[in-house]
Every structure is written in C-alpha cells, then in structure tokens.
Symmetry: C2
Subunit: 483 residues, 2 copies
C-alpha cells in the first residue's frame, strides 16, 4: 500500500461513549478510511486517578502529534472547583472555532422545521467560558466576560471561510451590543470590518434576543451564524434540538494547531451499556473529521450511507416514531445498517458531496500596538454595609489636587451624586476616581497612593479597574447621566 | 363618586408608541378603569434636549408618586456611551422582577406550539446588564457579570409567589453552573434553598443551553421559568416569538417601591404614524397593571374582550393570516373592536378570571454578615506583548517570604507553570500571587506593596482582584490543574 495511514487520537469517554465510539470506528474502518488510531483516556477515570485536570501529560503529547482528536462524551465531576475538561482542551489547544451544522431530515425525522439547514459557528476560547469568577464580598459574585480583538477576527474570518468552502450564501452575526457596548460592540464592529473582504457573501446582524427568537421560529431563514461563545452554546443547542434531536448533531473544534471532533450531546450515564444509544452525533462528527483530513470522498460515502439509513427508517429509540420509522435498532445494529449501505446514496434527502475542507487561513491580525493609551482614573470596588453617604464621607477625602471622586455606583447604577431612595443596593460599591485635568494623565504611582489610602482607612479594595483612554476614547462605560 | 381615581404615570414613547398608547388608554377608559393619568416624556425627545439620562428629575418625581408606570416603546440613541434608559429605570427604581407571559392563541394566531402557556420571570437588575465594561488593553475587553445573594433571593421568591397567586404548578430554573460555578452556582443554590418553602410547587433545573433547546422545541412542558437577566432576555423573546409574535406579549417590571408595564417589542419607527401597529402587547401590559393595582374585575373584562377580538379574527397586519383571520384592521379600529366587545367573553380561548395580584413579600434575606473572610492573595492583570517566560522573569521577583507567584493565565487558561505552545494568548495576562502560609492571611498593606512593585517596574496593573476565603472556602475559581 502506497498510502500511509493518517494518525488520529481517539478517546472512548464515559457513559454511552464507548458504545457509540465503537460503532463509529467500525463504520470508518469498513469505509476504508486510512486512519492510524491512537487511543487515550480522558475524563472521569483520569480524575479518579488524582489528575485534577482530567488529562495526562502523555495524552497532550499524543493529541499534539496527531492530526485530529475524535472524542466521545465524558463526565466531569460535579463541584470541587474543577474547570470543565472540554473547555480546557479547547483553550489549551487553541481550538477557536466550534462548528455545528443543524439540519432537519424531514420527513424521516420528526421536526416542526422541515426546511432547516444552518451552521452555527461558535467562538470557542473566550467570553464567560474563561471561567474567571470572584466572590467579591459575602453577597456579591462576579464573572468576567472576556472578548479580544484577535479572538473576534479569527472566528469571524473562519465563518466566512466556512461559508465560502461550503457554498453557503449568507453569514449572520448576533450580539447584544445595545447593552454591551464595548465587548459585544467589538464583536459587531469586527464583523463589519471583515464582511467586505467576502463580497460574494450576504451578511446581516441581529441583537441576540430577537435573533434567537427568529432562529427558534423560522430557522430556514438562516445559513451560517457566527456568535460569541455563550450565545453560540445556547443557540446551537436550540438549533440542533428543533432540527430533530441534539442526538443527531456532530461538531468540530478547529484551531491552527489541531482539531477535535465530538457529538454535541452528553455521556447519558443512565443509557450506558444497554446498546440503545444513537451514535449519529459522533458519526457525523467523524465525517467532519474526514473532511478536515482531506478524505473528502470517504466522507461523502459515509455521510450518504448514514443519510440512506435514516431515509430507510432504520432508527434508534430516541428518534423512532410510529408511522415514520420502519425499524427500531440498537447502537450496534444501527452501525451495521450504515455499513450495509456504504456505496449507496439517499433518494429524498440531499446527497453529500464534499469537495474541500475549510482552510484555516492565517489572516494578518490588525496591529493595535500604535494606539496611544493614557491613564485617566480608577474604579475601586469596596465592601460596605451602611449608607452611600457614609461611604462618601469616608472616601471623598482621598481626592487631591490631581484626582477626585466622580461617582459611586452599586450593581451598575449610579448612587452618588443624586441617588434615588428606591434603588436597591448590594454590599459591593464601585468608587470612581477621575483625573481632574484631562490634559494631564495619571501615573501608576498615583494610583498606588490612592489605593494605599483605602488600605489605611480599613477599606479592602476587592477589585480595581484602571480607567484608560485609547487614542483619546474612553476605555470604560459611563453610568446613566455620567459625563 | 365614592371611589377616588388611582394615579398612574404614562409615557407615550417614540415611533409607534403614541398610537398604541392612545389605543390602549381608550380601551381602559371605556372599560371604566378609575385611573388618574399623569403624562411624562422619556426617551429620544429628552435626550435631544440635552438630558443625557433620557429622563428628567420631575419625571422621576411623578413616577415615584404614582402606583404604576405604563410605558410605550422608546428609542435609545445609538452609540455615544449612553446607558440604556430601560435598564436605568428598572435599576434606579429597584424593579427587580420582569414578568412575561408567553401564551399561544391557537387556532386564531398561527403557531407551531398550540398548547404553549408559560411565564418567564427574569431577574431585572443584575448580570451583564449592569453595563460595567473595561477595555483592559488595546486588544482585550471585559464585561462584568454581577450576581448577588439578595438579587437571587428576591427574584426566586417572586417566581414562587407568582406561581402561587396564579395557580401555576411548576417553577423551572435555568443556569449555566457547570461553567459559572460561583455566579450561576449561587443562583442555582438559592433556588434549591427557597424551593422547599413552597412545597406545593413542583421544581426543576436545567443547564441553560439544553433548557433553551427544550423551551424552543416543547414549550408546552414549561409553566413558570425563573432566570438570570441575560438568559431571561434571550428566552423570553424566543418564547414570545414561537407563541405567535413578539407583538402579542406584554410585560411587567415589579419592585418594592414601584412597577412599570410595557410591551416587549420596540418602537418600530418604520411603522410609525400609519395606524397599522398592533397595540396588543401594550394592552396586555395594561391588563397586568390593572391586576397589580387590584382592579381585577376590570382586568378580566378587558382581557376577555381582547381574547374575543382575537377569536373573532379581527387582526392587525402582523398576525393577519388568510384562512384564519376574518378582517385586517388598523391600530385604532382594533381598539374599537376590543371596546365593542367589553362585557363579552371568548368561547374557544381560555377566559381570564383574575382574583388577586402577586404579593411582593418582604422576605427576610439571609444574613451573611457573620461570614469570616480572609485575604489569601491577589490576581493582577497586566498588558504584555512578549512571551510568558519574559513576563515570569519580570514578576517572579515580586514574590517574598509571605507571598509568591502561583500562576500566570491568559484568557482563563493557565500558561505558567506548564504552558502548551498551542495555547493562543492575547495581550492581557493574569498573574496570581498567593500567600505562602495559608494559616496566616494577608494584610491590605501587603497587597499595596506588591502593586507598588508592579508600578515601579513599569507594569500597569489594569485590573486587580483580591483573593479571599469565606469561612475557609476560596472565593475564586481555579484554573485547570491548579491546586
């Protein structure tokens, strides 16, 4: 044989994972996919061995040396402050693009949305999934939503590249930039910067709440949808479910240095070991992997055999419907039915015909190093359990000829100057100090001296945020009627 | 007349606002609602007069002196850093509960979900809607998600009280606490604390992504759903849309010191002044207001007349459907049709029969003042554009006999010790310093001294986060494999 096999990493996972992985690998083998499979363990068993990350150093090495990682669902232990292993793999490997096609298979799988055929492209490294959280005070908890320019540029370019490689016509962007003017504002702004580079692709933007409503109601109006991590998480589950079942959706996680492929559903421990689970999500993920590896013909063969199986009404229990399905089968039998159909094509459903994989291009990122920044103030968060006036009396004296107290806010609402007695306040207060002469920016030493005054007065600053301008534009939001 | 009128505040808003408000007030008047209407201006016109909050001091006074505020949709100027006026009113007035019934009117209004009848109870003061955002570096933007114990307690109590007052059987809670273990973890924990106080109400919890999928697919399985602000914003739009139209949904904003009632749709400037807009969202909001004011009989009368109008196929253009609707009418004519039906009841749709309003009870909040806190470290965020090793060299020397560098992370992923070359790093780095002897907590002065070392080395700390324990439990999340 002239062709050498392509090395991939495989993890069998927990719960129903081993069964559906076995079924999937059998199909790939029988389809003649030239794969050299390296098996690793991740998840529950590894945690139980005392490895708190859920993944061992040798496993990282295997993943790194192979072209792709096919992963079955895993369990993450509840509680204990463990970071999600899925998030760890995605971020450590730099797998920034999560791709989830959501397609309905009407009339063979029940759905209220027969014409649905969309792809969610979800940002995979940032947003609230960075998992950075602090208990600021006994009553107040903060989580950080992180959005970066390179992160936005990469995912938005990927969405357009995907559309181009897959003959899709439109890319839709969702943000909440009417509220999150800086962070979601950046995502939207970069979408508008990049869209003109792909003039053949139609574009649109929706505020995420109404956009979500439109996806849930008329998903057939969407094609490719690009979203930040949290919105993408919620809406890809919505889209997969209303297409027919989350059990029918596979996904890929793509980065510059690797790629991971998985079903979007979980490990379903209650169904484990019974040969009932639907392997379709993982099978479809493995097809995405074949395309990624350039094995486009085998990918088309497996996909068409799977479509024919669905069309023939050979269904696992989760999508079985009297009057539509012909035969209810187990995990193993479903895989055998797909294998028996290798080489055939669906008659009613749209046939698969892959031609190329989506290029992960290395676009030059916008250089922001020339931006001139100046320090104009600091927000200091302190715990306080009395009135705003008492806090004001304490901290106003920290003002000096260079810097002055300009605002006290509680949960985002300005409560000094001009508070309203109806405003409900928590135990964490944000004290904004601003430079008096905006022509003369502050030095870090001045910030340190201000913080020292807090410390000496017995006020523990549980959080500080430097207030900067960037080429003269404030890098912070204003409260209501703040100038 | 023995009965004195109840004072309410009314704002006619922008776009289609004036038309739908006029229609709504005419119905209330003809139904005999004993209201004394004080009209105020908020929104676009006020901004244009130079009042950057969009609301004047005298308006606050009017809202404060009346029992309820009925508000038509407004425009918020784009850009310019203005905080959303809706958010300002809700938070300044302490209107913590946003209530949105989402009901289908099958077969009179087209829907894929004929049996849907759920109520979204959305937390209204916290979460990312606090609008606290910072540009940390040229490339990195942060937004703060704020969750507090009193905020969670109030909204979750309200959800159960609402269920009780309205004869509903189940309250479902959605969070993303598998990722947001502290913030969403608190919301879930408090839900579990409060649920047993309402033993007659069934409860359940879903992770928000799969829960959203279930609402979008089978909304008939939900009854009352309680959510944090962002999830509630997205899912109430989803639920309203799939019930039939966001044009058919009203909402209330309830607090201890006031209440505001509004349609959930926007001001639709393109439809303004044409007598075509559907006033139903605002009419249903006004019915919620009547119930809140204790005018339950008039509320039932107006609601039944509205239901009969819908049932009779008298529809505005937005819900008009050939074969279902009988007559397409304008805003004014729709209101006249409702007025003509005052005193009648629907035959097919479920009749309204209000008996009492939801009590806003003043539950005693859990006292957390006895929790013992200790300072065990600090996270310092700095901009840096070279390798993690260079950053490590610079800052490791800040360690002393009391405190040491324990981790450097980038976008939530630990990159020192043991970085992976594939991890993609932004320009903002989180440096964690931890006390060496966990038996001997840190003083604020020690934190100040550490920060001074950063400042003197030319490292601008754009954010600091104090690391505390609360009764011995860390008030901060760990990175992957951090101990």
């Amino acid at each position: 044989m002239a062709q050498s096999n392509i090395p991939i990493t495989v993890a069998f996972g927990d719960g129903i994972g081993p069964e559906i992985m076995k079924a999937t690998l059998e199909i790939l083998k029988r389809a003649g996919a030239p794969l050299d499979i390296k098996t690793v363990e991740v998840g529950e068993k590894v945690y139980l061995r005392g490895e708190s990350s859920g993944i061992e150093a040798s496993t990282w090495e295997t993943i790194r040396q192979t072209k792709a990682f096919l992963k079955a669902p895993m369990n993450t232990p509840q509680g204990g402050g463990f970071k999600s292993l899925n998030v760890t793999i995605r971020t450590s490997m730099g797998l920034y693009a999560n791709v989830r096609p959501c397609i309905s298979y009407y009339p063979f799988v029940q759905t209220k949305h027969p014409k649905m055929d969309l792809v969610i492209i979800r940002e995979n490294e940032e947003d609230l999934y960075t998992g950075i959280e602090y208990r600021q005070t006994p009553d107040t908890f903060h989580a950080l939503k992180v959005i970066t320019r390179p992160g936005c540029e990469k995912i938005i370019h990927y969405a357009f590249q995907y559309a181009r490689a897959n003959g899709r016509k439109k890319v839709t962007c969702f943000t909440k930039d009417n509220i999150l003017k800086l962070s979601d504002g950046l995502f939207h702004k970069i979408f508008d910067e990049i869209a003109p580079l792909y003039p053949e692709i139609e574009t649109e933007h929706w505020i995420v709440d109404i956009g979500a409503a439109k996806i849930a109601d008329t998903p057939e109006n969407f094609d490719v949808v690009v979203l930040a991590n949290l919105y993408g998480d919620i809406l890809s589950d919505v889209a997969a479910q209303i297409a027919g079942s989350v059990g029918l959706a596979g996904s890929s996680n793509i980065g510059q240095h690797g790629a991971m492929f998985e079903a979007i559903h979980g490990s379903a421990p209650r169904r484990a070991g019974q040969n009932v689970a639907n392997p379709s999500g993982l099978i479809l993920a493995s097809i995405m992997m074949l395309v990624h590896l350039g094995l486009v013909d085998i990918a088309s063969t497996v996909h068409n055999a799977w479509l024919k199986t669905i069309e023939d009404g050979i269904h696992t229990y989760d999508i079985f419907k009297e009057g539509i399905s012909k035969q209810v089968v187990g995990t193993k039998e479903f895989a055998e039915a797909v294998i028996a159909r290798l080489g055939t094509k669906p008659v009613n459903l749209k046939q698969a015909h892959y031609q190329k994989s989506t290029q992960v291009l290395h676009h030059e990122l916008k250089n922001t190093s020339q931006i001139k920044t100046e320090i104009v103030g600091v927000d200091v968060f302190v715990e306080h359990n009395k009135s705003v006036d008492e806090l004001y009396q304490k901290i106003n004296q920290f003002s000096n000829e260079r810097i002055h107290l300009s605002m006290i806010a509680n949960r985002g609402t300005k409560v000094w100057p001009n508070s309203m007695s109806e405003t409900s306040c928590g135990d964490n207060w944000r004290c904004r100090f601003i430079v008096k002469d905006k022509m003369s920016s502050l030095k870090m030493q001045e910030i340190v001296e201000l913080l020292e005054k807090f410390a000496k007065s017995g006020l523990e600053f549980n959080q500080t945020e430097l207030l900067r301008t960037y080429d003269g534009t404030p890098g912070y939001t204003l409260s209501q009627d703040e100038q």
